[in-house]
Symmetry: D2
Subunit: 402 residues, 4 copies
């Protein structure tokens, strides 16, 4: 491994929404957390020279390149941080792992199960050589989410009976919103399902410690033709007047499914970009025999916890402000009641990644964990294609046999 | 029709939870609303002499009987109000309609589609003779729910994209809670599905003006054997110590399903008695292309309304306190901000029923409407039995052809 | 005492907002609660023959009269229920007590301290003869409020440090809203202060078990001239076009004050009819060394309770749905989660009043308790007049010495 | 002015809570906002060599010193950022201004009115030489707060009738919490009043555009003797076992006051560190003749707005998620619904400060604005000392005459 003891030199591919969020996290992580190694924002990569140069300057990267292979070929880069659309994840990550670079790859891991299997297999091989890999399901690191997992793990919810998860947005309700890459199957793999549905699949499995075993799903594309974009970045985009040529939307606008978890719980999932008024409404409720928890990403500093072992007359959902030093990650931040934001989940992700690399343990979620999410996405898509028929989630183990 | 111009003489069957709620409504309706006819609490019926005598005295009925046929045979009873468990709805309602009595029947209309079809056919026949019939989906008359329907009907939500409905309770989470009639298929028809799932099916169809066309469902019975009850009433019951004999639970504890509405919306539904901490959580969210609404029965005086036609920077879910004189039913009650309760939905139901009878129009929901709900319940049950396969809701029209 | 064992014959003066609310409660109380005595709605009194006749018919009173002295002179009336504006409370109540009638008097007890003292003295005298008297601070009987008091009494909040109470309405924000009796000092005594401020004074003293010892106050009349009303009832009124003559507003639109409680707490109070958007926002928060509670009348079925003795990471305000059988008054109503409304507080008030009369104990709040509230109102008014100077609340004891 | 065109070299005094928050902001501001000048974290100052060296390394400052005069004497420092306790603000700021350095000074501006007047006078003098000064009332830059001000300025609330402001914390409820500097009058000037009360005074004046003209106040110190701290930082501290020596608390634990604003509004203010369960509960409600707004710092991404010009049946408090590109400061951050945290208010503060310096305009709040807040604090303290007597806020103009 080429890293020095003190420094972890980062090479990042992509500079849009995720690139900016990761940059903020790399820049902040060592300023807030006391870690054995310090991240160095060494090299950023993007295809457009002017834009990536600007991004490097603005976001604070020491250098830039337009060819992602440069990141992998350089000896003085320790980590490859993959922030591109899903269609290039596999190629970049496989090359990085082969070159002995630690890899942090944005979710979803890949656009297809096949790619995800290959990445997972490669990660397993690299792991033997001390190379770490991780998929960036950042919401696991929201303190309230981490706390939910602890409550479940501590038995505070008892036997889990219900999982209720939605991730609702509304940024494409307008039929004139343009056909950005997130609406194209070849770039994004799927629509709401893979983009935001993947988050609630991972989050609920992470919190409950259970896996989705089977699903029955319906997906829908409400608006099937959209104008081509003039310009786009993140979730924003513009169209050239009313004269723009149009193209077909090739992904789902919404995906809903019922599921069973392998611990016996019934679950409902919904991912949509057509939920008017819901901007980033990742909401999860879990009911167990002894208690329940509720989380809402738009109020990410809060966790509602119902403890059914309390006296009946005093039972109620407690709004816990997850800003105490006792709460996960929070001792590094501000006094109680001073809230953190969306970007902090990435700072926590980088914290855990750096610590894992520095101490030589495998970070989670692993590529194998992310492959399992991909298998759920695949089961959902297949069920929807087959008239909502019950579809078992394929076991990830098959990966090993390939 | 045997009613006088001024008086509507009510005969009610049942005196438990629903009987008490209906009594409160019959007693109150003419004291609050200005109506052409006055309800008279003439006769109450129950099987146990002592208990029904007590109920008559306590609830304020003029007389009582232990045989429901007495209500039907008497000339001086105008309305039969059926508040019994579902297994006797059909027999009583059919007899009442045949005798020319107006019928108000609690939901679900019946325990089977077959019974519901027969009742609907009988109601159609009686209708020709000026006999009115109505099924008691009382939540339609919660002012916020009526207002939701108006907003949709006025086009304020645009094209409906999503319906999200849950009805969650937790009164049988404890495995020692006894095997009351609501947990027995022969008495109740189904479990959470028919008891509370029926409410959200009716409510969302009422509000959207659309019908569920197909479903994919999963149901579950988490606790399959329970102690027999020593005593029970409403949702409360007791068991004789730890020595009580047990019996099998023959209904669902929870039912979840995805659905399509005939106007193009995707929907998710969940009914459960195992949602720890949720007492009476009927919650509905509807997203349209121009706006959204959210309703929560535990805060039934409030409606959240999102109007996407407002300036972007001012858009938000407005918490409307539905207590203004301008709101449905509310001019009869208290000044703005003085909230009403659960029971008021029944008072509004009786108001509308009395007015319909007095003015000679058909009240809604009709038995045909309730049959359609029954057909959805049936489709859900069949889908669950057939491994969640997509199941079309049978058209109610078949009833006419039988 | 003229009452029979089984029946308590009620004579009520007034038929507007309070009259309707009391009627609903008298009508309901014995249908829901199991009590030793049954209330009989015997006689209603109002000045306008046509209107009181209509009210008797609509609200369900057996007879009516236009002279309140009839209620007192009749032998077959046991209770006088005073629902008139404050300017006639003293005269009616004094006559009733002198005639040996039990008296239930709406709040505020009187328009002046002098009247309140006289009424309290008369109640003391009558009490020796077994005559009961009570002032109708109905919000004490909201289950969540009663529960707050129990939590404080049980020491669950520790030493009370802060009381924060507002009662906000907005029904006269419009300068064209007419000059109803509630805006006239000779009828109403004071404005927001006595009408709604009295409620939060009583409620917070009831809950904490402490008395306000001194205040520093500001009051304001934002709109000093208003059109005379064409018609008015409750909080609603109309004006005759733009040509209506006007008159001076002689009461406060808003009153704010800081206070000290005799147990050491600091408090803030605010009563206003100019809080745009707030319809009936009686909100109270109490902070103690061990916990806090929060109550909001617009969500009267909920109580927020913070228990600082719980583990730090789990502390939070619990939203308790006060609808369980274990909660005050609630076992008589519906299953958990089925909410009650504003009017139920009166039903509970009548329940406690009937029980007190039947069992021969003094109901609370007594006239002496209500006098103490009057003394606080008086201190507030005097402080406001004297440039917010600190003003001690006069002890009620002085009454005895007069 | 010694600054280059491109760089603003910052020297910061203090490295505890405020030092960390400011560092995060200086580090981030140019990475997120496109500004003409880039801040450079040049020099940090603290009294303890080891601690300030650690802080420089951790927070990312290029160099450190233990003497604040070094910052002022160096030619290559453009801005002095004062993050120390209030007792040293005046000395440092006066020296900095005299040396021609731009000054950003944490709130409250000073511990006494006298100091604040001197600082304001010095700022006026320096201003003539192009030296900028600003007081760090960071909450003005919470996007929802900025938006509130815009709504008021645009006339959307009409005539302001009520201001209701609380800032509640609970970090010293435990009598064993130690006597940190914030509880000592010589260091902190006052207690809850100056620390958090100053925030709500500034915020409400900023939002309404009105000044507090007079107050009637009560302050209280509930716990008058506390153990001396072994160690403390920010709002956290430890005590050496039960044997720690104690000292007197010389500041207020809580301050409550009623006030009048010069535009005619009535107001209530409360600042407390004894509000159990409230961690950082800065809450403000403003009622105007046309609308109302509500803000809660613990949910700082939300603004509730009530627009009374909407149709009655649709009026309600809208929960606006202040995360749209149209909202103040937010176009620089994440897509809608992705929330920001406490620290972002400082990033926005630095953004505005840098822009003001670069473009040669005076940033707000000026020292004169901060002096005015100091005068309100002074009036509150004087009123509390004089038995809550009404106390006019001294005009800031007097400063000029001195």
């Amino acid at each position: 491994m080429s890293t020095t003891d003190k420094e972890l030199r980062i090479g990042m591919v992509g500079y849009a929404f995720m690139g900016a969020a990761h940059s903020q996290a790399w820049r902040t992580v060592n300023r807030v957390f006391d870690l054995p190694t310090r991240a160095r924002m060494a090299l950023i990569c993007g295809r457009d020279t002017g834009k990536v140069a600007d991004a490097a300057d603005r976001l604070g990267w020491e250098a830039y390149t337009t060819d992602w292979r440069d990141l992998i070929n350089r000896d003085d880069i320790d980590v490859i941080d993959v922030c591109t659309p899903g269609d290039s994840h596999a190629e970049i990550a496989l090359a990085a792992l082969a070159a002995g670079k630690h890899v942090l790859c944005e979710k979803p891991l890949a656009n297809t199960v096949e790619e995800a299997r290959a990445m997972t297999a490669a990660a397993e091989v690299a792991r033997a050589a001390g190379v770490r890999s991780m998929c960036g399901f950042n919401y696991r690191r929201v303190p309230a989410v981490t706390m939910m997992r602890q409550l479940v793990a501590d038995g505070r919810l008892g036997v889990i009976r219900h999982v209720r998860a939605t991730y609702l947005q509304d940024w494409i309700v307008d039929p004139q919103f343009p056909l950005v890459w997130r609406l194209q199957k070849d770039r994004a793999g799927s629509g709401a399902l893979g983009d935001i549905g993947a988050h609630i699949i991972d989050l609920t499995q992470f919190v409950t410690g259970q896996r989705i075993s089977g699903v029955s799903a319906v997906t829908e594309t409400f608006v099937r033709e959209r104008p081509l974009p003039a310009e786009s970045s993140g979730l924003a985009a513009t169209v050239d007047g009313g004269t723009a040529p149009t193209g077909p939307v090739t992904v789902d606008d919404a995906a809903v499914f019922v599921a069973r978890l392998d611990g016996g719980a019934l679950a409902t999932y919904e991912a949509s970009r057509f939920a008017t008024g819901r901007k980033n409404a990742l909401r999860v409720e879990i009911n167990g025999s002894l208690g329940s928890v509720v989380f809402d990403l738009e109020r990410l500093n809060e966790l509602e916890f119902y403890d059914a072992t309390r006296p009946t007359a005093e039972q109620g959902f407690s709004r816990i402000l997850v800003t105490e030093g006792e709460h996960p990650y929070m001792s590094a931040w501000w006094p109680p009641g001073h809230i953190i934001g969306y970007e902090h989940s990435f700072t926590h992700e980088m914290r855990d990644f750096i610590e894992a690399v520095a101490t030589g343990v495998d970070p989670a979620p692993s590529f194998a964990d992310a492959l399992q999410v991909q298998l759920v996405l695949d089961a959902v898509a297949r069920s929807a294609e087959l008239g909502s028929s019950w579809t078992e989630v394929e076991p990830a183990l098959t990966a090993a046999t390939v």
